[in-house]
Symmetry: C2
Subunit: 694 residues, 2 copies
């Protein structure tokens, strides 16, 4: 049906509703009002506030929506005009959502990075108006000759339009003649009114009245990794660390850590995030379990950055040299893994910044520099940066640091606590770096209130940590996952980390091994980006008493783990993680953010959701549907009925279809109401693929 | 506390949070970002879409809200700078809503008509930050000397500020000296930190860091009647109509209808709305009950406008002359009643427009003019106007008609079916008329889907009919009334008509007399504007079978009603309506739109809501609180517990207070949980006034 002049191969979009590109016929522009002739309101994608562009990632299916209506009963049509960054122009027809709110939608997959322009166009749909009136009136014997003549004139106008294929023109002329043929009875005329072939001509090239053009809008499309990835986090100093005979530990290095890359790749992860790799302050260094008295063998927290050995632009000597780091990045690349570095803008008291630029910190009336604090507590291993004494100097220094790591091959930064630094600063930094290199991705670790968390995402962060770890019940997850997919997706991309060195939730502490499987399965399937911090495979679930983080935390010490032994003993989650990542790679529906739909079960712990991708929007041209049914109570065996709105994947209610459990390989015939039993201790989750009919 | 230079009498606002007007100290403006230094987002009042101004009415209490936060833990302050149309500048402190979403609010009553400008200003609140840290740290014995010195420096800065009253300066200097006095122990220093008098100095004249100025925004304040009024509707031809000996009816006139004005005023109504008063078409005139064959004595529908006797600028000869109409308007004015005219832009086939301007209608291929229709039905007494053939000509003619009636003293128009005419047209018409005369009020009768209904309100209509008549259950009303008060109040003012000549809901048809009392009580108390169509007093509840409108509808015939007789027999709701309107006049809380809060009962039919007005925002400086408890099931006697969030009216949970039932005069001592019994057949509703403690 698509008739642009570009070859299908070079088209930078996929759409099931594309129209031939045509200019919209000029309607007299009385724009002395804010309202337009056929009103267009609340276009989306859009930000709920501020002057920011909405965003998407390469390959993302974006629902373009607008509120459109007109006075009276006449029918309207709405189309989307899209301009890709490289100048491709396309036109897509919107369909009414039939939700009672006059919302219209066209879904388009965007395949080109950069700033897209788009606008909505609305018009009186002459054919639809006539078809509605003519079919009712001719059937009722009211005004039949008049309705036939109006149709004939409409068909003639349509046939005369430039660019309409000759075959359509001939059909329309013949239909017009038939409508006027007094020898043809009204029943036959009615068949012409309702002829789907003719309706298709008009849907494809609508005859427009009152053609109305909406505002020019923009959408930023970033690279696929901004939206899709399986992240793994490890401390390079732990990978290859060895306990010496004297009981002390010799640090791992980039060289020893590189030996772990193969296993990370084998589990199927795409991104490896490293906590800060810089020299660690010696002044007031923290000991094990965040104690104040570090011993000589204690490595300190990597987030207490900077010592006489260097600051944010330097590699910790224990890890090796800058050349070793570059080798590590290259080795990861060979395994298909990108390295994400930490960007933590704070300094240990012995960071070189402190002596060279005391104005970058806060000096108190007693002449001392202010520590980080949460009154009355003080964190004496860290000075927070003051961004207001010398904002230009700080900007230049951070820009220099980020450019330095970009020059070493880094394209992803995980930003520590961005909500403790000015929002303006991040907006400026990300825009500046992305102007030089649009591939650089920043992940915001903003564990804070919704307003600052969302503002950071809107202001430029490509990804955000979210409240995922604290959303564990069915009811919490239904609301949370739906909100991520439908309310904030125009500006916020979640990275669903299941744990971090800072977060070991009670759910994991007390949920046993089932909890680890449940959370990994949800994270890997509910959003296109998720993450796992090393040790999760080993069900490390002992917290420092009264806290929500691991005891003997890796932040303050080396962790020596027996990865291979745990797998051999069957004590590792790694095979399950590997299977999850395989499923993600095989199923494009799981690599989308906005295509999640919540379904239902009769059990208060059985969560049900689906991810669906239409054939016309899918990279391989085939529809893809995954149904996830998960027992969120890790201490129970549950059975229930599951209720599905199968129309989401184009199956009529009551119709049967085949599903395959992608974890176990089991197959069932399902319908819209299905029995499930989920045993948290053996199989807490079904990840079901809807098989296409043979 | 307020220290503007204007006298309190001339101040065009009321506010409990006013600050002395001061310029905000200049902070270095790095506006190369959309984000501001102390971010400000989602300001309101605001429209959810489009380029329209939000609106309020004179005397309305408007919640000004904004999302504001800053990085880290330091405290912020937010203020609102308001400029009245006449140039009054004022400053109001916002308080955090403590809702977890970083929303801040100041409520201000606006007392001047015209376009107000406003902006939000945010800043680091140096005192609040210090007070928080100092109170915790001094109490914990951490950094006490340092915190005392920081405070002393802050007090000195504050004392040095221009405009601070001498007494405050002295107190601050003394406090600074005490903080520095080594002889004063930390417990005494802590008392200074926590001294409410000092906190009040800083609240009133905050010491600001990073002062940030938000966008300039606008708010249109219209006259009070745009937002507040009790409407009554009657057909003037029925008032004073007489049945002659031959069985035909002699039409009432403006002179006879004027005799009814006293009774309407006595019931307490402010606005009298008249269906169209113009000549009625004779071609295809409708007979009783919308039949197609009008007899010679049938007056026809007033909405079939125009005949040889004239069109939209003419008075129906049966009603009298234009001079009679002017007398009627003046007589109404003497009773404190404004006249609202109907504006129905459509024509009977014999309207003078049809011959003079066939281009204002739609001509079909057979040369005929298109009737109004809902295919396959046709309405042969009405031609709809086509606004697109000669948009300029139509605009000029309608402008002429509206100006004509404005010249006769009309300031309110009830617009018939505005959703069947272009949105652009209304936006232009209302803006044009209001530019000449800002007192003119337009009420939209847009019984249609939410998008066009809300768009008409946003585009300029001062008032809107709503879905009120179809919201009858407790659950429906909770959602509906809350949405009117809180979601759409920035642009849509509801007029809660309980019935119309077109709407007699099943609830009224089958709910008996109780239904009429219930609906009137809710309409009169839940929103500041409501309306009653004549006959409601007589419980006229017989519908044309299968329809939702009165049988023997007044649209097509005269109605001869015995108003006085019904009152004498005790068969009239008029005394109850009068009491409702007295209560509305006595209680300013009922003349506000946005101050409704939903409360709770254990019964699925007992609806509970309150309307509260703070003393500082009230015209008489006294707090006003009304609690409405209503049994929405007109067929039952119900008893239940009612649960109130008494903090809305500044009563602590569990505290006792007195309430008076304003309908019966009964008094009770209430608390946050109270027993009620509501007998639909005798007293279906409590309208309770919370008495101020003696």
């Amino acid at each position: 049906m698509v008739t642009t002049t570009r070859s299908p191969r070079t088209r930078p979009w996929r759409s099931a509703s594309a129209l031939p590109v045509r200019d919209i016929p000029a309607w007299q522009a009385e724009r002395d009002t804010a309202a337009r002739r056929v009103p267009l309101a609340k276009p989306s994608p859009a930000l709920p506030w501020g002057d920011y562009r909405p965003k998407a990632f390469e390959g993302e299916v974006v629902p373009f929506r607008v509120t459109a209506f007109r006075e009276g009963h006449d029918r309207i049509g709405v189309q989307l005009r899209l301009f890709s960054p490289s100048g491709d122009e396309s036109l897509h027809r919107l369909d009414p959502l039939e939700d009672g709110f006059d919302r219209w939608e066209a879904q388009v997959a965007l395949l080109e990075q950069g700033i897209w322009r788009f606008r909505f166009e609305s018009f009186g749909d002459e054919f639809a108006t006539w078809e509605h009136a003519a079919s009712l009136k001719i059937a009722a014997g009211v005004d039949a000759p008049l309705m036939r003549e109006i149709g004939a004139q409409l068909f003639e106008r349509a046939g005369a339009e430039k660019g309409r294929p000759a075959a359509e023109r001939r059909s329309l002329a013949a239909a017009a003649a038939s409508l006027r043929d007094a020898g043809l009875d009204d029943a036959a005329a009615l068949a012409i009114v309702e002829d789907p072939a003719i309706a298709a001509f008009f849907r494809h090239r609508p005859v427009m009245a009152l053609a109305t053009v909406g505002d020019d809008l923009e959408l930023l499309v970033e690279r696929e990794r901004a939206g899709v990835g399986a992240w793994y986090e490890f401390f390079p100093r732990s990978e290859g660390a060895r306990r010496l005979k004297d009981g002390t530990v010799k640090s791992g290095t980039f060289r020893t850590a590189a030996k772990r890359l193969g296993a990370v790749a084998e589990m199927g992860f795409d991104v490896l995030y490293l906590p800060p790799i810089h020299p660690i302050g010696r002044l007031n260094r923290k000991g094990p379990n965040n104690t104040l008295d570090a011993g000589p063998g204690d490595p300190g927290s990597p987030w207490a950055i900077g010592s006489a050995e260097g600051g944010h632009d330097t590699v910790h000597p224990d890890l090796g040299t800058l050349a070793d780091f570059r080798s590590f990045v290259r080795a990861a690349g060979r395994e298909g893994i990108e390295i994400a570095l930490d960007l933590a803008l704070q300094a240990a008291p012995d960071h070189p910044w402190v002596a060279a630029h005391p104005e970058w910190f806060t000096t108190l009336p007693d002449g001392s520099i202010a520590y980080a604090e949460n009154p009355p507590k003080k964190y004496q291993d860290i000075y927070p940066v003051n961004f207001d004494n010398d904002p230009v100097g700080i900007r230049e220094e951070v820009l220099r640091v980020v450019r330095h790591w970009v020059a070493q091959g880094v394209r992803i930064f995980r930003v520590d606590n961005p909500h403790t630094k000015p929002l303006q600063f991040w907006e400026w930094l990300i825009a500046t770096i992305n102007a030089e290199n649009p591939d650089v991705v920043f992940l915001a670790e903003a564990f804070t209130r919704p307003a600052p968390l969302q503002s950071l995402a809107a202001a430029g962060f490509q990804q955000s940590y979210t409240y995922f770890t604290w959303r564990n019940t069915k009811a919490e997850l239904e609301e949370f996952l739906s909100s991520l997919a439908h309310e904030t997706a125009d500006f916020l991309r979640p990275n669903l980390f299941v744990n971090t060195p800072d977060i070991l939730t009670e759910y994991l502490q007390y949920g046993g091994r089932a909890a680890y499987r449940i959370r990994a399965a949800i994270a890997a399937t509910a959003a296109p980006t998720y993450g796992v911090y090393a040790g999760y495979e080993h069900y490390e679930n002992v917290a420092r008493p009264g806290s929500e983080e691991n005891i003997d935390n890796e932040k303050y010490e080396y962790k020596l783990r027996d990865w291979a032994g745990a797998i051999e003993r069957g004590d590792s989650l790694a095979p399950f993680l590997r299977r999850l990542n395989e499923i993600r790679r095989a199923h494009p529906a799981l690599r989308q953010l906005r295509n999640l739909s919540i379904h239902w079960s009769d059990d208060d712990a059985i969560l049900v959701y689906a991810k669906h991708l239409d054939a016309g929007l899918s990279p391989d041209g085939r529809s893809d549907t995954i149904i996830v049914v998960v027992n969120t109570d890790p201490h129970s065996v549950r059975q229930t009925m599951v209720h599905l709105d199968t129309r989401v994947w184009d199956v009529e209610p009551g119709e049967a279809y085949e599903v395959e459990d992608l974890v176990t390989g089991a197959r069932w015939t399902w319908s819209d109401h299905n029995y499930v039993m989920l045993d948290a201790f053996t199989q807490p989750v079904h990840i079901l693929h809807v098989k296409e009919p043979a």
